[in-house]
Amino acid sequence: MRMNGSLSSIDLLVVLIYLIATIALGLYLGRGMKSGQDYFLAGRSLSWWAIGLSLVATDIGGTDIVGVAGAAYTHGLAVANFEWIGCVPAMIVAAFVFIPFFWRLGIYTIPEYMERRYHVSVRIVLALCWLVFMACNLGVMLYASAKMMIVSLGIDWTGYAWAGVSLAGHEVLGCAIVFAVLVGIYTFSGGLAAVVYTDVVQCVVMIAGCLLVLVMALVQVGGVAPLVEQIEQHDQQLADAGLSGNRTDLIQPVDTASPFPWTGILFGLALILSPAYWISNQAIIQRSLGARSAFDASAAYVAGALLKNLIPVIIALPGLAAVAVLPELSDGDTAFPLLAMRLLPLGARGMFVAAFLAALMSSVDSYLNAAATVFTNDFYERLRSTDSGTFEALHVGRITTLALVLWAIGFAWWLSKVESAGIYAIFQTLVSFFQGPAFAILLLGVFWRRATAAGALVGFLCGVFCAVGLFTLNQPSVLQWLGWQPLFKIEEPFLYYSIWAFLMTVTVAACVSLVTKAPPSEQVEPLLFRSSPARD
């Protein structure tokens, strides 16, 4: 393997050591699994520090490391809103309200709560949305990351000819298969415990690799003050040419050329998508449900929030530093890899590749385990009325994990055939279709005694319909056919879809709930949040 022709044997050794250590740890943790609870919730034995690091590692995918730096290069610091106001406040609220509440209920999945609070129909609809999204997203993450590794990082597989590997024309798919198999091995073996503890290693490797690039970039530029000065000079040149500048501002105007106007960031991200992600995304919340106590679950979120303050510094700031070091790039997504290749000495480049792999693997393993949990818990066991505490649940969980790995490889293969850039954007937008509505009915269920199953189901479906409708009405082909101007005037207005979908869900769910029969209070009372929690 060569990276822009210059990945040394020491670099390869660093990557190899990282991969072997990760898989060995995952396999070690897979010993002695006896039940579904061991596999899906790590036997409820996880410590706060492991969950906290795992939360951060899961949130940052391989494409994010390169993509966030790329967005920082192109649009400026505003992309850091996704890690700051788009994470920290929601994590603090989750830490003291939702996470300990769900932990005490002893649930495995959020759809399971939906059945207890509302009805089995709400559980099935929500579980189906999550399962389809997570299964497809596995393929998308694998394929997009493999492509990024080959194209942006300049991986050249011809160097493997000595190993008898001939991948001519199929390098991206080959890379995606290797990633899927590596992650599949330890997730299949160790379930959530393997996912969380390998995430700890991956988080450390990811932060170390990115920090290394940042430090070298700052040394190259001469420090923080000269970097700010150079960015401001560059922005002034853009402003003089009639283009937007202000790459150091977090708060961007409504008519900004970037996809991050303050309205979307505040109303769409901070108030809806971010809490929805940290409170109701199964791939995120599952590790806290496996905490050894409600306190550990809360502490993990607080620790994650503290660490989240650092993340933009190590992944967005290198993108800004690249403005000074590499000012003429046509594609922002190449900024971080090029910076790493230009500044890191031989031997340290392997650390950057390991950081990229760590970010990818920590996200894929979480989605893999969460999808297996949703299938086993919300479909298989629900329909067969079996219990997660059995060996059968463990067996089904492992078979499902294996099936999902094969599915993800198949889906990545399909993506390689279709080869349309729009598909990645559609799958990233897909989650905004139902995450806002799902969060809305969760909020109503947790805080409003009067919310009914009919209200939740109709509200959720109307919210999803609203988001899909807005997305469709914003497609160029549809606009041309209707002869309309675009409804939204920014690129990728997914933050706006989530606002309207959330509002639609709350309104419809509240109205339908008020005209349908209230649920019996003895059924609802234990499932409502109380401000004075019981002890563990």
């Binding site: 977090l250 409504v254 505040l266 809360s298 401000s531």
Partner: protein
Amino acid sequence: MTPLHRFGDLLRNSLLAVPLPLVRTVILTLLAGLCLWVLLLPQEAVARRDASGQRTANLRPWALLALAIQVVIYALF
């Protein structure tokens, strides 16, 4: 021009009129409000006690620190 476009334009023009310093103030106020909420949380929601009832860990200062860093970031940038 459909009613949806008219409504969108009305909303957009109203929000365009909001000065960015006011937006910054709103964000800082939200973060400060969260800090206050964390300060007012009951002890049993933020602290762990051992069998004898002694407090062994407290999450409140760490949560406040995470939010305080946010306040500083949004005040500066």
